[in-house]
């Protein structure tokens, strides 16, 4: 038996590996690593972050993540606990996780950091310290690509000495020309800031504090709404393939922009798909195509698993694997939950001006913010709209055009030439009721 070569060529690997991900998503991948280190260190549960009690300050000090993005370097420094030497030696720089590796929450495939580094630049300097031990790695991609071996030089250094100082610093310099050009073009730090605020609403302020070029990133929460006794959010929950899926769909509170409407999909708390209105989440297929009249629609689909590989996300964490069984089931439920909401929102624009239409518009306008946690704590249910019970009317408008000559006759009879038409109307009705109606 002879064997043909089927080896992976490094340069091909590097070129192919980095092609389908944006610069911004690469930086988010590095942030994921920092967040994951914090979650691992503090054994933080994703459920606690997404569905935990409101206003409960984190039991541990927030991890700090500082991102610097300039034409010369991209740097991510955190105080999220650092990486153990053992993992650095056998796991962190490998492509793909080992079966026995300590699994994180946001790193599914074991490619994010490496792909980000390769995409961004040529020179890498990584320093990581736990309280007890540390390591340092410096290498250049072009030199590494020329070498046959698939390993990198590592130096052991001292630990940080305290929990507070423990963390990792990743600095990429000698940025690739196209990366430097994009940063020079402007907008990249702002994009990263905006993407981070919508990607980590369940982490920012709860377990980490993130800054991009010295600017704090504030979480952009996904707002859900209900109206007591009138509007109830749809909620579904199921477990499949060791993934816990929690779904909520409803009308969002406040004035809404069309770009905020749609489905938000979380994988272990990280927003993977943001305000989706495409056929990924059933629009234009199982549902109608999105139109501005649906701008108040909002839905969250949370997929949570101890093993991130079971989650339906792709390696870029910006899309979903449509062949995933758990996503196929969730998608069917998402469509089922959405339809009554779209029908309801549609009915606001009914041609008639009946009381029912006015009630629906009032309900949409009066929706109050409610947390995902509160919706998820209730039994599963479909979307429900119960029109408010109307109070019996005590008064009603009477409006009509009257002949000026008739009004003048009344004015002359009453000797009040300046009497207003409204007052004449009231007087004549009152007179009729008194003189002609028995009760």
């Amino acid at each position: 038996m002879k064997y043909a070569s089927a080896e992976v060529r490094k340069q091909f690997f590097i070129d192919m590996f980095t092609r389908d991900i944006s610069l911004e998503d690469c930086v988010l991948d590095l942030i994921d690593n920092s967040v994951d280190a914090y979650l691992l260190k503090h054994e933080t549960s994703i459920s606690e972050l997404v569905f935990g009690p409101d206003g409960n300050p984190a039991a541990h000090e927030l991890g700090k993540i500082d991102v610097t993005c300039t034409e010369r370097q991209i740097k991510v420094v955190d105080t999220c606990g650092g990486i153990l030497r053992k993992r650095a030696m056998g796991e962190v720089f490998c492509f793909g996780h080992d079966e026995d590796d300590q699994v994180g929450k946001l790193g599914a495939y074991g490619v994010g950091m490496k792909r980000a580094l390769f995409k961004i630049g040529n020179h890498f300097h990584i320093v990581s310290r736990t309280p007890q031990e540390g390591f340092e790695v410096t290498f250049k991609l072009d030199e590494w690509a020329d070498r046959k071996e698939w390993n990198i030089p590592i130096t052991f250094i001292e630990g940080a000495g305290s929990e507070k100082k423990a963390g990792t610093s990743i600095t990429v310099t000698e940025l690739h020309d196209e990366v430097a050009l994009r940063i020079k073009e402007g907008g990249v730090p702002k994009n990263i800031l905006e993407d981070a605020s919508t990607t980590y609403p369940y982490f920012l302020g709860q377990c980490v504090r993130l800054r991009i070029n010295d600017t704090d990133v504030n979480p952009e929460p996904i707002k859900l709404g209900e109206l007591d006794g009138v509007l109830r959010a749809a909620h579904e929950k199921f477990v499949q393939d060791r993934v816990v899926v929690t779904l909520a769909a409803t009308v969002a509170p406040g004035q809404r922009k069309a770009e905020d409407a749609g489905w938000y999909i979380l994988c272990n708390g990280r927003v993977v798909v943001h305000a989706d209105k495409t056929n990924l989440t059933g629009w234009s297929n199982d549902l109608a195509s999105f139109q501005p009249k649906y701008r108040s629609f909002v839905g969250i689909a949370s997929f949570e698993s101890e093993d991130p590989l079971n989650l339906p996300w792709t390696t870029t964490k910006r899309d979903l694997n449509r062949e995933s069984g758990v996503f196929i089931r969730a998608r069917a439920l998402m469509a089922t939950m959405s339809k009554p909401i779209l029908t309801f929102l549609n009915s606001q624009y009914s041609g008639d001006t009946t009381v029912e239409v006015a009630d629906i518009r009032d309900a949409v306008g009066g929706v109050k913010e409610v947390s995902f946690k509160d919706i998820a704590a209730k039994p599963t249910t479909g979307f429900l709209y119960s029109p408010p019970k109307r109070k019996e009317k005590k008064t009603e408008w009477v409006r009509f055009q009257a002949d000026v000559s008739s009004l003048d006759k009344v004015r002359r009879r009453l000797r009040r030439p300046n009497m207003g038409a409204g007052d004449i109307g009231k007087l004549t009705l009152s007179h009729y009721v008194k003189t002609e109606c028995a009760e």
Partner: protein, 328 residues
Amino acid sequence: MSAVSSSYRVQYDVRPAKQVERRMLVDALQRLAAAGFPVADYQYTGFGAIYFVDFILFHKSLGMSKLVSLEQQTSLTSRMKFNRPFSCVEIKMVPASSEIPNLSRDAHHFVWLDYDGVLQKDFLSDIQSAITVLPAGSILLVTVDVEPPEDYDYRAVDPDFDSSKEVLGPKHWKRYFEYHAPSYLKLGLSDADFGKSELILRSSEILNAAFTKSIVARPELHFLPMFNFAYKDSHSMLTMGGMIAGRAEKRQLRGSNIGETVYYRDDFGSPPFEIKIPRLTRKERVYLDREMPCADGWVPGDFHLDPEDVLHYRDIYRFLPAFAEISL
């Protein structure tokens, strides 16, 4: 004058074929009950309109007492409430798409989406919703009109269609179905495949695809075909349905004797059970009934009846209502 005598025509308001279908469903559900399905505890959700014929039948014959009638024509509210036959019938003025997600996941359901129109995308979407949420053991039934789409149906596809300039034909009907069910149609269909007589087959294929596609989201369950009726009182109609079943329900269904009936269809690939009602006088029916169930090839000796009609009658005589005029 018509070539067919009025004696053979249907009296539209009483709809005998539809009633045979309902009674066959009662028969089927009684057989399921005998096999251990808790049919009396099932919730029936249907479109009772102002007559509630199915609700009355299922309550009286099967003991179902959780009954929900859906209606989206709000102008019918007072008439529906006035005509509500029993206190256990709940009337909800909402479309099926709003109610299906609210159906209890802890109860068995019998849901009959008894549409009176030609297949459209909303129906398929309701089927998907129902199969997505109904618990195992529940039965879903869907009825659609299989006559060609009419002008007002077609205007959803082409708002500029002008019936004074063009007459609808297979080319338009193909466009209609492609518009409403693009991902449910087989590939490679031509205009000729949408001729009037083909529409029942196309509708059947689409409904079958909708059942199959929808159950994929629930890998632990199957959609087991049970019913495939074709009938015509005024319009040609098609009813298809079956059970959402796990292993236990599948076993239980196999253990029932429903498979012995003439109307049971466990494969949507085979032709539907056609409810054909020979037009007979009361006297003829009494005569025939005395010989039922008759042997193959038997024909009445005292009057001529086509042997095919005898066979049709043998299939449906137990379920055929006898209508009579009463003075109130």
